[in-house]
């Protein structure tokens, strides 16, 4: 495979070229003699497993890291960046994988930080111009929020949109997007495709990193694949099949993404009735049974996370009721939820899921410290053994469980979070976007795990914005829009159009009626 180096060297119109780049972190060879070229006006996909070195590669182009060996050529001239600013000056802009925003500042300031608009003579910050310009950029991206909003109050997806606006604002010639669609729904991704194509038409070149095959298929002209820090190949997108691409990335074949399993659905474990949290969601009702996978979908900001966090005790509900195994409960805090058998894989794994500076093992056992201690006294041997077992089971890629989570790639970090949930005995598991930013191989692994869990009799609530995932994994689908449930469907007879319609219609009640008319089974009633 590795000899399949296609288009190399000085193709006319190549505006960025990297040659023989190597980058070594203590203990890891993140990049090993890779090369890459980008043509004028091209969208170039970059793919690879978690930890393949994609983000590191990007940081080298943007001047955040200096390569250990190798050279960067822009417009035929060799360059060396001492800081990110120098790269910016040469027209390189990046949207980083982990959103890097200023939560306390306004959206407009976030967009223009570092290249603020100032008035001509007094050099004071020109607020009016900045807000005007920012609003224009946001409108261009079809964002329905104001440039005056505080960044920290926005959801992750909206922050992502601001990041894109930020890259646009610098008038860059080379725009790099590191997994921009990870936090976006299908609908929003389509918007992003449109914007990206607009950019290309204007002559901008784009490097587009994604774990979603459809992103690359839909957008890119060429695709480069990295594996374990090495360059595997570069192909025109039309000339490579999906299967071959997967093989290039993973190094082996993945037979089926969504193995259909026949799981016996058992007793009802959770019943949510008319749950309302003022200002966030209203009258949410659904049920969940043993071995069932219930997908919760909708557009970003629909309130899915809020519902699940309320069920997990992060916030309190204002009215409605929750029954776990038929008993009505109140849920004070996550500890309480865990005791009731409800576990949660949170949406933001870095902030909510992991203690980043800690070792893998300590992270895995954090939810079950009690189980590994007698009268507060930790039994570290038993703890390490258990952590090791879980890490092995989920195939976390690291040399030992004493590796810091900080140094893991996104997908491997996600596996650690999954391992955390598995360290406790639970009945209900909430998975909030479990495959966000995870490579195909790991995705398949996680789908496998989800299947296993269902088989073992867990009731699973899966929040997902990816249509194939929703349709391929779940038994039933609940669609939300603006804090209300707009549809409940049996997956067997649901279609993509139905779901999209329910998640986007203007009036929620109208939609509910509409969808109810189309569907035969009523989701909440089907359990009895």
């Amino acid at each position: 495979m590795s000899e399949a180096i296609a288009n190399s060297d000085d193709t006319p119109g190549s505006i960025l070229e990297l040659r023989r780049i190597t980058k070594i972190f203590p203990g890891v060879k993140a990049l090993d003699d890779v090369h890459f070229d980008l043509r004028q006006g091209e969208i170039h996909g970059l793919m690879g497993e978690n930890g393949a070195g994609k983000s590191t590669f990007i940081k080298i182009i943007t001047g955040v890291h200096a390569p250990d060996t190798g050279e960067i050529v822009i417009d035929g001239r060799k360059v060396e960046f001492k800081s990110p600013i120098e790269a910016q000056r040469l027209g390189v802009a990046a949207i980083y994988q982990h959103v890097t925003c200023y939560p306390d500042l306004s959206v407009a300031e976030n967009i223009f930080m570092g290249h603020e608009k100032v008035t001509g003579l007094t050099r004071r910050v020109d607020w009016k111009a900045m807000h005007g310009e920012a609003q224009k950029l946001l409108d261009r991206l079809d964002a329905n929020f104001s440039s005056r909003e505080r960044m920290g109050a926005l959801s992750v997806a909206r922050q992502q949109i601001v990041e894109i606006a930020k890259a646009l604002s610098t008038n860059a010639r080379i725009v790099i997007m590191d997994e921009p669609t990870a936090a976006l729904t299908q609908h929003e991704s389509n918007e992003l495709y449109r914007i990206t194509e607009q950019l290309c038409d204007a002559g901008v070149s784009v490097i587009f990193i994604s774990h979603r095959l459809e992103d690359i298929r839909r957008l890119a002209q060429r695709v480069t694949v990295f594996r374990d820090g090495r360059h595997i190949g570069c192909w025109p997108v039309q000339e490579i099949t999906q299967d071959k691409l997967v093989v290039a990335m993973v190094g082996r074949e993945i037979s089926t993404m969504f193995p259909k399993r026949r799981i016996d659905i058992g007793e009802e474990v959770l019943r949510v009735a008319n749950l309302t949290r003022i200002g966030y969601f209203r009258d949410v009702s659904f049920t969940l049974r043993q071995g069932e996978i219930l997908a919760l979908t909708g557009l970003v900001g629909a309130g899915r996370t809020e519902v699940c966090e309320t069920l997990y005790g992060i916030a309190r509900w204002d009215s409605g009721s929750v029954l776990v195994e038929g008993r009505e409960v109140t849920i004070e805090d996550p500890l309480h939820a865990l005791r009731l058998g409800i576990g949660c894989l949170p949406e933001d794994r870095q902030r909510q899921g992991l203690v980043l500076p800690w070792e893998i093992g300590k992270n895995i056992t954090l939810p079950s410290l009690r189980a590994f201690s007698r009268l507060y006294w930790m039994d570290e041997d038993r703890e390490n053994q258990a952590a090791g077992e879980l890490a092995r089971k989920l195939n976390v890629k690291a040399s030992s469980i004493f590796t810091r989570v900080l140094a893991l790639s996104g997908g491997n970090q996600q596996k650690v979070v999954v391992a955390k949930i598995l360290s406790r005995h639970l009945k209900i598991i909430i998975l909030d976007e479990p495959t966000k930013g995870v490579d195909v191989g790991a995705k398949a692994a996680i789908y496998d795990i989800i299947g296993d869990l269902a088989e073992q009799g867990y009731g699973i609530i899966l929040i997902s914005s990816e249509m194939p995932e929703v349709l391929g994994l779940s038994d039933r689908i609940v669609v939300m829009k603006e804090g209300r449930v707009t549809a409940q469907l049996e997956t067997a007879n649901a279609t993509q159009e139905q779901i999209l319609k329910a998640s986007m219609v203007v009036d929620a009640t109208e939609a509910a009626a509409e969808v109810a008319a189309e569907t035969t089974a009523d989701g909440s009633g089907s359990g009895e």
Binding site: L335, L366, Y376, M378, Q385, S400, R424
Partner: protein, 335 residues
Amino acid sequence: MADARTPEIRIQAVRNWSWKTFFFQWEWLLVVVLLLVVAVNTYLSPFFLALSTFIHTPATFLDKAFIVFPMMMVIILGKIDISVGSTVALSAVMMAVAYNAGLPMPAAIVLCLLVGVLAGAFNGVLIARFKELSFVIVTISTMMIYRGIAYIILGDQASGRFPGWFSLFGWGTVMGVPFMLVAFVVCAVIFGLLLHKTSFGRAIYGMGHNAIACRYSGVNTDRILMTVFTLNGLMAAVTAIFLTSRMGSTRPNVALGYELEVIAMVVLGGVSTNGGIGRIGGPILAVFIVGFLGYGMGLANLQAPIVLVVIGLLLIVSVLALRVRFTIRRKKPVV
């Protein structure tokens, strides 16, 4: 197709132990500094290098050192408690007043501890329940309140006249070793185990790095916060007992400024105010470094301003040494 160079990595569950990481620790630097302090002191004063210096003089600076342990926990949590000096004053005053009002001394001591616990718990409850209030402002205001209460109770009076045995806390010895030193060692062991060997300690470190993730993981973060602040109050009361015993009486303005001295020792001990980082050995060494330094320079009759300057320099220079070590070891990653 399968790449020969990527065998399936089996993740290990055994820790690699290396001499290099063992000696690359902050505590070794502190040991060096401590030896340096001893050497300089020996040079400065002929009285310094004696067995009694190492066994008896710790009693002169150990009183506030009892707060170092819980303060270390507070700082690992990423917080700071500025009210401890006032808590010492309040619990000491309560003890003295209660005793002079007729309570038997053992009961007065229990009361002292109880007051400390209550004062600490009040801090803890406020900080845990009112998340939007900064711990700095909470403990600054309780700093005023606790000492204020001490003033209200005792006004311009001093209170004392304790039974003779009470002075044994501060002045007594156990087989030739001052009782205070023994108590300090016992506390060091207890807190060391608590911090490094229990699930409670584990949770403290976790919360210091990422309290949100700990909450999502089912750690009872509020309870840990309250417990740690309560421990801080309790140990402030222990300090109050030793201090009062050494002074034979007490008044509302004792232990002024103890909080900053304690924080300085904790921080010198390698505990980061960003939270999550620090081991028990560091602050213990720091207590003896600062204590012996002050004591030795006093023996040489150096004036207080010089001592101030030297302690300030020590704080900065030793931390600079740590920084230089880090820049040698790794370049800081961005993003």
